[in-house]
């Protein structure tokens, strides 16, 4: 059908079809400008098994180191969320062998003290801030580690709600802390031990057990197709 020509968004990157030179793990390739890092891998004919997950920026599988032209700074990104540009150089990060503590979250007696048994390196942070700089989700990781150590579990759980567990904060830590794993423990402890139990939920569970909705169920489940459709239409 007719589409008014005025309602068209200009996209210089689409009009120009410009090719750019990038480096993938040290090797040069030509790819279209502006495609994502992960698409650049596919474009150059590489099979991707490790290093791709949700493709939506949530799972942390595609954690990547990159550098832009003439800039000495090595940065981090999620490969599915980053567009390539001329002169860019990148390497997908292999899984880093971080140590995850094992615990039974529900049976912890003193979660704030247990942190030091589970992650004894947590209080050894030397404040270098490399973890914060490494976070593609822009979390103030260093601040979070300190807050965890000082027992402010609530703040940590809020700060790390954006954490995709890519683990980029871990290899840069000179005190061998795995900040994302520390934060995960702290957030779970916050939820399981330091958050009020929702009264309404227990009431609803008991109502279901006691059969409070039984009559309504019997009525609804006895209806024929038409009666049920009419009944559904009335629900507001």
């Amino acid at each position: 059908m007719a589409q008014e020509d005025t309602n068209v968004i200009d996209q210089p990157e689409v009009l120009r079809h410009k090719m750019v030179t990038i480096e993938i793990s040290g090797k040069k390739y030509e790819v279209p400008e502006g495609i994502t890092v992960i698409k650049a891998l596919w474009h150059t004919g590489q099979e991707v098994v490790r290093g791709a997950g949700c493709l939506g920026g949530f799972c942390g599988a595609c954690a990547t180191y990159y550098r832009t032209k003439d800039d000495p700074k090595v940065r981090t990104c999620l490969a599915c969320q980053m567009a390539v540009e001329d002169g860019m150089s990148f390497t997908i990060m292999p899984p880093f062998p971080a140590r995850k503590a094992l615990y039974d979250i529900q049976s912890l007696k003193d979660p704030k003290q247990d942190l030091f048994n589970l992650y004894p390196e947590a209080p050894l942070c030397r404040n270098c801030n490399a973890c914060t700089e490494a976070c593609p989700q822009k979390i103030d990781v260093r601040e979070g580690v300190w807050k965890a150590v000082f027992g402010d579990f609530k703040s940590v759980s809020e700060m790390f709600m954006d954490c995709v567990m890519c683990g980029m904060c871990t290899p840069v830590c000179i005190a061998d802390i795995a900040p994302n794993l520390v934060a995960l423990y702290v957030s779970r402890a916050q939820g399981a031990h330091f958050t009020e139990k929702p009264q309404g939920l227990d009431i609803r569970i008991k109502e279901i057990q006691d059969g409070r909705f039984k009559d309504e169920w019997n009525k609804v489940l006895a209806m024929n197709e038409q009666e049920l459709a009419d009944h559904c239409a009335k629900v507001k």
Binding site: A52, C54, G191
Partner: protein, 533 residues
């Protein structure tokens, strides 16, 4: 035109639109709209399945080819098992983790195999929330009726009743594991209203509900030391002389070896089909969403249900090019975001069901009231700045941090500028037919989560998927584990495959493709060289 210039009409018409109420469609108009514009009704995209348990049923051509596809396994393969277990869970998303944890919790031996990493799934991306009737003015019965209405009355009543009634105890389980749901000032669970629901019923963890649940479940799977087989893709199931399921064969994607697992029960939690790009649609799904569980179940004789209906989420990103198909959460519309065409007009009640909203967006675009991008895509505006105007500055940033960051990476501030959206392939409404314990018609073969069918009818309501995963993951895990003690491991054979191949031959052989697909073929092949180049 410059995108900012085109967006002006959204800013200019905002105040006038805020005074408007758009009524929902009357049932007859709604059906007419869906029949005319919803992709489920594009008959040229469908064909009949030639053989197997759903012979003569129609589905999209992309799926039909895979269901009729051949196995990569040779019938002479040595089936001596590499691993033996009580319960084998295939899939590492929400349903798989819930199944593994519940089965393991009863003392059963459990192996969880997944073709990518533990947790790489659609579950991790669920932004909208999880529907559970916890509010005093709400009830499981109302949840049932809303879902039934949204599913065009086609939902399996038994499955649906089980889901809505198990919901509250699932919320309790997750809270005990440390999941941080949003709360009201009085400590009770905060509930939001979702499209197609008559009562606020969505439990949320800001717009990271799936991520928060998956972080916790993954951590718990690791804490319990459940045996994992990562980067192992299921390529065939195993059956005994009675046709019961007895295990599975995997392809280890790292070294390409075949791995045979003997199991008393198998739970397929393999998720959906977005990466088949049905009818050429972009998708919001994860890399591995290729319908593997459907193919495996079909070959062993399990019946599928509602496989002709798919959910096209109304709001997939259309601009920038890098975010094509990525989901713009329905939460924006739940909080009052308007859909606006190129003329600055609203054209649908934004909180109608997903199929209705998607159909109306397609109508606007097909009738010339869409906005086109130079790359040939078309969409309508979702007025995100309206949320700040309506509820105060900072609302978008506070309630939708994930989405803010996603667009910010490409220089777009969604609290200031509207986003361009078009429906994206999001969910398979149907799947393998299951009973209330999540078991298929093939004994000891369970299917949980998106791969299963019947529960959602012909259209899934927002927020019902996360609950589906948890409820049927749990039920499959508990049922499979409870059987393990009183049964012995069945024989490992490929008789079902022999039968399937014979049937394919009768109907002029298989579709010529090997299934399951495992991963989409995105890797660019080298262009053919011509003679003189």
């Amino acid at each position: 035109m410059d995108i900012h210039a085109l967006q002006q009409i959204v800013h200019q018409t905002r105040d006038a639109r805020r005074k408007q109420t758009i009524p929902k469609f009357a049932p007859a108009d709604r059906d007419q709209l869906i029949h005319k514009y919803h992709p489920d009704y594009r008959t040229s995209a469908y064909r009949s399945i030639r053989f197997g348990p759903n012979k003569n049923d129609k589905t999209v051509v992309e799926l039909a080819a895979l269901l009729e596809g051949d196995s990569s396994i040779s019938e002479s393969l040595d089936l001596t098992p590499h691993y033996t277990t009580d319960v084998l869970v295939v899939g590492g998303g929400g349903a798989g983790c819930a199944a593994a944890l519940h089965a393991y919790g009863t003392g059963a031996k459990v192996i969880l195999a997944t073709k990518l990493r533990l947790g790489d799934s659609n579950s991790v991306m669920a932004q909208g929330g999880m529907q559970i009737s916890v509010a005093p003015e709400d009830s499981p019965v109302t949840h049932f009726l809303d879902t039934l209405k949204g599913g065009h009355m086609q939902n399996d009543h038994e499955l649906l009743k089980v889901m809505v009634e198990d919901g509250p105890s699932i919320a309790k389980w997750l809270i005990e594991l440390g999941v941080l749901f949003d709360r009201q000032a009085d400590g009770n669970l905060h509930v939001k209203k979702g499209g197609g629901s008559s009562k606020p019923r969505l439990l949320t963890c800001s717009d990271y509900t799936g991520l928060e649940i998956m972080r916790v479940l993954k951590d718990e799977v690791l804490n319990q030391k459940i045996q994992l087989l990562e980067f192992c893709a299921a390529v065939e199931l195993l059956s005994d002389d009675n046709g019961h399921c007895t295990g599975a064969i995997f392809k280890d994607l790292d070294n390409h070896r075949q791995v045979v697992v003997a199991a008393k029960s198998v739970i397929l939690a393999t998720g959906g089909i977005g990466r088949l790009h049905i009818q050429g649609f972009p998708t919001s799904n994860h890399y591995g969403a290729t319908g593997d569980g459907l193919c495996l179940s079909y070959r062993i004789g399990a019946k599928l249900d509602h496989i002709d209906t798919f959910q096209y989420h109304p709001s997939g990103a259309v601009y920038p090019e890098q975010l094509i198909g990525a989901l713009v959460t329905e939460g924006i519309r739940s909080e009052g975001g308007h859909l606006v065409n190129a003329k600055g007009e609203r054209f649908v009640n934004e909180l109608d069901t997903r199929d209705v909203v998607s159909s109306s967006i397609i109508r606007e675009c097909e009738e010339g009231r869409g906005i086109r991008t130079m790359s040939g895509r078309v969409g309508v505006w979702l007025d995100t700045p309206l949320l700040d105007a309506e509820h105060g500055p900072g609302t978008v940033e506070k309630h939708f941090p994930a989405m803010m960051m996603q667009f910010e990476r490409f220089g777009i501030d969604i609290s200031k500028d509207p986003v361009l959206i078009y429906p994206t392939l999001h969910y398979q409404n149907g799947g393998v037919k299951i009973d209330a314990n999540s078991e298929t018609n093939v004994k000891n073969l369970f299917v949980a989560g998106e791969a299963s069918g019947g529960l959602h009818g012909r259209n899934r309501l927002m927020g019902n998927s996360l609950l589906d995963l948890m409820v049927f993951g749990k039920r499959s895990g508990l049922t499979a584990a409870s059987r393990a003690g009183s049964m012995s491991q069945g024989k490992l054979t490929l008789q079902h495959l022999r039968r399937f191949r014979a049937e394919a031959k009768q109907h002029g052989s298989s579709s010529g493709v090997i299934s399951p697909m495992i991963l989409p073929a995105y890797t660019r092949k080298e262009p053919e060289r011509t003679a003189n180049s």
